[in-house]
C-alpha cells in the first residue's frame, strides 16, 4: 500500500470524535475502539516489515505536502528502529486501553479520558515514524498535552501538581529542542533528518557543538536522566496506572529514541571525529552511571508501591544512556533499542500489576501489604515476571538486551579503555536492580497474609496483564524478530 504510515496517523485522528461521543453513552466501547485501532495499526505496520528487511536501504518513506516555506514536509518514514518502537508503543496502548475498562470504571468523565488517550496515541506513534524535525516536534509536544490532562484529571492525591511539574519540566526541555531544531534549520536550510546529517558536516563545528548539547539536554529531560529527573517520580506515581504504564514504557523511551535518532544519528556525525565527540559520549556514560545508581538506590528504600517502579525507570534510563554512549558500535545500538522495547513491555506490565494491587487493596505502602500471592495468583505471576525481567534475570525480556549492551561495552573497551570502569560499575548496578525487585516481591506477595478479602482483579485487567506477561517471556526466549528488525537499520 502507498499510504500505510499516513493511515496509522489518520486512523486515530479520525476516530477521536467517535470515541468522545461513544464515551458519553458507554464506558466500555471507546476502549474497544482504541484497542481495535491499535490492532489495525499493528497490522498496517507489519505490512512494511518485509519491505524494510529486504529493501535496498532498509527504509520506507512517504512524503506529503505540508509547510514548504519552512521546508517542513509531512515526511513519514520507517526503518527497523522506528518500526520496533512504534509496534511496541501500539501494543502498550492496546494493553492500557483494555486495562482501563475495569480500572477506570468508577471514575467520571471517561469520554474525555478515552479521547485524550486516542490523541496521545497519535503523538506517541508519530514521534517514532517521522524524519522531518518539525513534524517530530509537533508529535513530541502532542505527547505532552494529553498526558498533562490525563494525569491531572484522573490521577491520585494532588494530580494537577504532579501534572504541572511534568508539563513545565518537559516543556522547558522541549524548548531547548526547539532551539536546536531552529539552529539546524538556520545552518542547513532543511529540516529532514537525513538531508541535514550531511549538510551539518560542512557547518561550523563550534555551532554544531551547541546544537548537539541543546538538543541532548532537551531530550534528556523527557528521558528523566539525573539531574533532570525530578518530574518523573511524581508524575509516574500520581498518574492512573494505564497512564503510568505509557509514561514509563513509551514516553521516556521516546526521549532515548530521540537522543539516538536526532542527537547521535543526525547531529553527532558532524563532530564525531573531534575531541568534543568522545567527550560528549563519555559525558553520556557518566550521567548514565549516576542515573542507574541513583534510581536503583532510591528504589531500594522507597516504600510507595508506584514510586519504587518510577525510580527503577530512572535506573533503566541509566542503562540506556550507557548503551547510547557506546554509539558507533552496532551491538550496543541494537541492544539499547532492544532494551527500550523490552523495558517498555516489562515496565508497562509492572505498572499495570502495581495498579491492580492498588485498586484491589486501596493502599499504596508496601509495608502494609503481604502474602498476596495466594489471593491474587495472576497479579502475583505477572508482577514476578515483570520484576524479574526488570532485574535482568534470564529468560525474561530485559536480560537479552542488557546482555547485548554489555557485549558491546566489552567491544568498546578494546578501543577506548575509558569504558573499563563504567562497565564494571554498570554490572554492579544490575545487582542493585535485582535487590529492589526481590524486595518488592517479598514485601507485596510473600510473607504473612494481611488482607483476607483481596482477590484478583476483573477480567479485562487480567487480560491486559496476561498479554504483556506472555510478551515479556516471549521476547526473552525469542528476541530474533526485533533484533533482526533493529539491526537492519543503519544510522550513520
Amino acid at each position: 500500500m502507498q499510504n500505510t504510515l499516513l493511515l496509522t496517523i489518520i486512523l486515530p485522528a479520525a476516530a477521536a470524535p467517535f470515541v468522545y461521543f461513544l464515551g458519553k453513552k458507554s464506558s466500555r466501547y471507546p476502549a474497544f475502539i482504541i484497542a481495535l485501532i491499535c490492532v489495525i495499526n499493528i497490522a498496517l505496520l507489519s505490512i512494511i516489515v518485509p519491505t524494510i528487511l529486504n529493501g535496498a536501504n532498509h527504509k520506507y518513506v512517504e512524503s506529503y505536502y505540508w509547510i514548504p516555506v519552512l521546508h517542513a514536509s509531512f515526511t513519514l518514514f520507517a526503518d527497523g528502529i522506528s518500526l520496533s518502537m512504534a509496534i511496541i508503543t501500539l501494543i502498550l496502548i492496546l494493553a492500557a486501553a483494555l486495562f482501563s475498562i475495569n480500572y477506570m470504571q468508577e471514575k467520571k468523565g471517561l469520554a474525555g479520558y478515552y479521547t485524550l488517550l486516542t490523541l496521545l496515541s497519535i503523538g506517541l506513534v508519530g514521534v517514532f515514524i517521522t524524519s522531518n524535525l518539525m513534524l517530530f516536534y509537533f508529535c513530541w509536544e502532542l505527547m505532552l498535552l494529553p498526558s498533562y490532562f490525563i494525569i491531572g484529571g484522573w490521577g491520585y492525591r494532588e494530580p494537577y501538581r504532579a501534572a504541572f511539574k511534568f508539563f513545565i519540566f518537559t516543556h522547558a526541555g522541549a524548548i531547548f529542542v526547539l532551539l536546536g531544531i531552529g539552529a539546524i534549520f538556520m545552518v542547513t536550510g532543511d529540516l529532514d533528518m537525513f538531508q541535514t546529517q550531511n549538510a551539518l558536516k560542512a557547518a561550523n563545528p563550534e555551532l554544531v557543538k551547541w546544537i548537539l548539547l541543546s538538543l541532548t539536554v532537551g531530550f534528556a529531560v523527557k528521558m528523566a536522566a539525573v539531574p533532570v529527573h525530578m518530574w518523573l517520580p511524581d508524575a509516574h506515581s500520581e498518574a492512573p496506572a494505564p497512564m503510568s504504564a505509557l509514561l514509563s514504557g513509551v514516553i521516556i523511551s521516546a526521549g532515548a529514541y530521540a537522543i539516538l535518532r536526532v542527537s547521535l544519528g543526525t547531529v553527532f556525525p558532524a563532530v564525531m571525529a573531534t575531541s568534543f565527540g568522545s567527550m560528549f559520549l563519555h559525558g553520556l556514560t557518566i550521567f548514565g552511571i549516576i542515573s542507574a545508581f541513583f534510581g536503583s538506590l532510591i528504589a531500594l528504600v522507597e516504600t510507595d508501591i508506584k514510586r519504587i517502579i518510577a525510580y527503577s525507570s530512572i535506573a533503566h534510563m541509566g542503562y540506556v544512556l550507557f548503551g547510547l554512549s557506546l554509539f558507533p558500535f552496532q551491538e550496543p545500538v541494537t541492544g539499547t533499542v532492544l532494551h527500550l522495547v523490552n523495558h517498555a513491555v516489562s515496565k508497562g506490565l509492572f505498572f499495570l500489576s502495581a495498579g491492580a494491587v492498588m485498586k484491589q487493596l486501596e493502599i499504596r505502602d508496601i509495608r502494609e501489604m503481604g502474602g498476596l500471592a495466594g489471593q491474587m495468583p495472576i497479579t502475583a505471576t505477572s508482577s514476578t515476571v515483570a520484576a524479574l525481567s526488570i532485574a535482568g534475570v534470564p529468560p525474561f525480556a530485559c536480560f537479552m538486551s542488557e546482555f547485548l549492551i554489555f557485549v558491546g561495552a566489552f567491544q568498546a573497551i578494546n578501543i577506548d579503555n575509558f569504558y573499563l570502569i563504567p562497565t564494571a560499575l554498570m554490572l554492579v548496578a544490575t545487582v542493585l536492580s535485582l535487590a529492589y525487585a526481590l524486595r518488592f516481591l517479598s514485601h507485596v506477595f510473600l510473607g504473612s497474609t494481611k488482607h483476607e478479602k483481596a482477590t484478583d482483579p476483573l477480567s479485562f485487567m487480567k487480560t491486559a496483564m496476561i498479554i504483556l506477561a506472555v510478551l515479556t517471556v516471549a521476547l526473552g526466549v525469542w528476541p530474533t524478530f526485533f533484533t533482526q528488525l533493529i539491526s537492519s537499520a543503519s544510522l550513520v
Binding site: 505540508w66 509537533f138 513545565i168 524548548i175 531547548f176 531552529g182 539552529a183 538556520m186
Partner: protein, 499 residues
C-alpha cells in the same frame, strides 16, 4: 493597474459606514424583540461585505501586477517633488495587513453585537467609533509617507481612547487620561523627529527619506532624531519601559473593546514599528539600531512575563501577555531578516486573534463575576465550553505546537538565530516557559480546584459563536499554517528588492 481610488476605497468605505451607523442603529433600536439583533446583524453584514469587496479588489489587483511584485506608490498629484508625493504605498505587507484587519474586526464586531456590558447593550456610538478606528488602521497600513502615517495612526490612537472611556467609571477615566498623556507625549516626540527628518531630507516619502538618510555623511543628528522617533512609536506599542498605560487601559475597557484593541490597534502599532524600523531606517545602511532594540525586546519579554506571573486579576494578566507579545514581535523586527518579517506578519495574525480570543472569554467570565484567579476555581466543570476555549488560547500563547502561537514563535526565534542573536532567542524561549507556567496555573485553578458553588452555569450560546470561530482559526493555523504563509511568502522576494 492600481489606482489611488482602489487603495482609498476600503478607508472611505469604513469611514462612511461609521457615520451612517449612528442613525441606522438608532432606527434599528426602535424595533424591539428578536428582530432587533437580526437587523443589526444584517446591517453589519452589509458593511463587511462592501468593505470586504473593497479590500479583495485591492488585493486581487495587487497580485495581478506583473512579477516580481513591486512597491506601488500612489500619489494625489503625481508630482514626485511634492510633500504628498506618495499618499499610499501598496505592497505585500500592507495588502496582507488590510486583509487580516478586515477579517478579524468582523469577528470582534460580531462578538460586540452579542456582548452585554453591565446590563446594557453597547450603544450605537460604540459601533461608529469602532468602524472609524478600523478605517484609520487600514489607512495606517496603506500609508506611503510619514505624514499620512502620522495622521491615520494618531487618529487611531485618539479613537481608541473613546473605547477605553466607554464605561465612564472613575477607573476608566483614570486609565484613559494616563493613555492620552502618554500618546500625546509620543506624538510630540514623533512630530519633532519628523520635522527634523523633513529638514534634513526635504521629503516625507518613505523611500526618498530612506535614500536621503542612507547617503547622509554625518549621522549624528540622525541619531538624536532616531531616539525621538523610536521613543514615540515605542510608547504607542507599549514597549517596556513605556508600557505602563496598557494594563490599565485594557482592564478598564469593556471586554469587547479590549478584544478589538488588542487584535487591531496593538497589531497596527507593531506594524508601524516594523515599517519605520526595517523598511525606512534599515540597518546597517541607514542606522544600526539593532542592539538597542534587542535589549528593549529582551526587557519587554522578561518584564511582561514576570508581571503576568505575579498578577491575580485574569484580565490584567492577559494585558501583560500583550506586553510580552510586543517583546516577541520586537525579536523578529530586530533580526532584520526576511524570515523575521514573515514571523512578524504571522505573529500579527496569530497573536492578535489569540489575545482577542482571550479577552472575549474573560468578558464572558467577568459578566458572571469571575475575575480573580481564585474565582476561576473549578469553572472547568461548571462552564466546559468557555473553559475549553480558554485552554486553547492559553496553549497558543505558550507556543505549544498544533496551535497558531507555536508557528509564530518558531519563525520569530529562528529569525533571531539567523541574525546571530542566539542570546535573544534563548531569552525568548526561557520567557516562554514562564508564560507556560502562569497559564498552566490558570488552567490548574480551572480544573483542579474545588468550585465555591456546585452546579453548571448557563453559558451564553451566542457569545460562543465568535469565540469558537477564533478558537478554530487558531487550531487550523497551527496545524496547516500554509494558508497564511503562502499569502506572506512574496514578502521574502520583496524584501530583497527593497528600493
Amino acid at each position: 493597474m492600481i489606482e489611488l481610488l482602489d487603495a482609498s476605497l476600503p478607508i472611505i468605505a469604513f469611514v462612511l459606514f461609521s457615520l451612517l451607523t449612528i442613525p441606522v442603529v438608532k432606527i434599528i433600536n426602535k424595533v424591539k424583540g428578536g428582530k432587533n439583533i437580526l437587523l443589526k446583524l444584517f446591517w453589519f453584514l452589509i458593511i463587511f461585505i462592501v468593505t470586504g469587496v473593497a479590500v479583495a479588489n485591492l488585493a486581487l489587483k495587487y497580485y495581478a501586477e506583473p512579477s516580481p511584485r513591486p512597491f506601488l506608490n500612489l500619489s494625489l498629484t503625481g508630482d514626485a517633488s511634492a510633500i504628498f508625493s506618495s499618499m499610499f504605498l501598496v505592497d505585500a505587507v500592507s495588502v496582507y495587513m488590510a486583509i487580516i484587519f478586515t477579517g478579524v474586526s468582523a469577528v470582534t464586531i460580531l462578538y460586540s453585537l452579542f456582548f452585554i456590558d453591565s446590563d446594557k447593550e453597547l450603544s450605537e456610538r460604540y459601533y461608529a467609533v469602532t468602524l472609524m478606528i478600523i478605517g484609520c488602521v487600514t489607512g495606517t497600513v496603506l500609508a506611503g509617507d510619514f505624514l499620512t502615517l502620522f495622521i491615520f495612526w494618531e487618529a487611531t490612537a485618539a479613537g481608541s481612547s473613546f473605547l477605553m472611556l466607554y464605561q465612564k467609571t472613575a477607573r476608566s477615566l483614570h486609565a484613559t487620561i494616563k493613555y492620552l498623556v502618554m500618546i500625546i507625549m509620543a506624538s510630540a516626540f514623533i512630530i519633532y523627529g519628523l520635522s527634523v527628518i523633513y529638514a534634513i531630507t526635504g521629503t516625507l516619502n518613505f523611500w526618498e527619506v530612506k535614500h536621503a538618510l542612507a547617503a547622509l555623511a554625518d549621522k549624528r543628528l540622525l541619531e538624536i532624531v532616531f531616539v525621538f522617533i523610536a521613543a514615540g512609536y515605542s510608547i504607542e506599542a507599549a514597549v517596556v519601559p513605556f508600557h505602563m498605560w496598557l494594563p490599565d487601559a485594557y482592564t478598564a475597557a469593556p471586554a469587547s473593546s479590549s478584544a478589538f484593541l488588542s487584535a487591531l490597534v496593538d497589531q497596527a502599532s507593531y506594524y508601524v514599528l516594523l515599517r519605520v524600523l526595517i523598511y525606512i531606517l534599515t540597518p546597517p545602511t541607514v542606522l544600526p539600531w539593532n542592539f538597542m532594540f534587542a535589549v528593549l525586546s529582551a526587557l519587554t519579554m522578561i518584564v511582561g512575563n514576570l508581571l503576568a506571573l505575579t498578577e491575580r486579576d485574569v484580565k490584567r494578566l492577559i494585558a501583560y501577555v500583550c506586553i510580552a507579545d510586543v517583546g516577541y514581535n520586537l525579536v523578529a523586527i530586530t533580526s532584520v531578516t526576511p524570515l523575521g518579517i514573515m514571523g512578524n506578519l504571522y505573529f500579527f495574525l496569530a497573536g492578535g486573534i489569540t489575545t482577542a480570543l482571550a479577552f472575549m472569554i474573560i468578558g464572558v467570565f467577568n459578566s458572571m463575576g469571575i475575575k480573580n484567579m481564585e474565582d476561576f476555581s473549578g469553572v472547568g466543570r461548571r462552564m466546559p465550553l468557555t473553559s475549553l476555549a480558554l485552554v486553547l488560547a492559553a496553549f497558543s500563547f505558550a507556543g505549544v505546537p498544533a496551535f497558531a502561537g507555536f508557528i509564530a514563535k518558531y519563525l520569530v526565534f529562528t529569525s533571531a538565530i539567523e541574525a546571530n542573536m542566539g542570546w535573544l532567542a534563548i531569552v525568548g524561549v526561557l520567557t516562554s516557559v514562564i508564560q507556560a507556567a502562569y497559564l498552566l496555573r490558570l488552567i490548574n485553578y480551572m480544573y483542579a480546584k474545588k468550585p465555591k458553588e456546585e452546579g453548571k452555569i448557563k453559558e451564553p450560546k451566542k457569545l460562543l459563536i465568535p469565540i469558537f470561530i477564533l478558537a478554530a482559526t487558531i487550531v487550523v493555523l497551527g496545524v496547516y499554517p500554509n494558508i497564511v504563509l503562502n499569502l506572506i511568502e512574496p514578502v521574502i522576494q520583496q524584501f530583497q528588492l527593497m528600493p
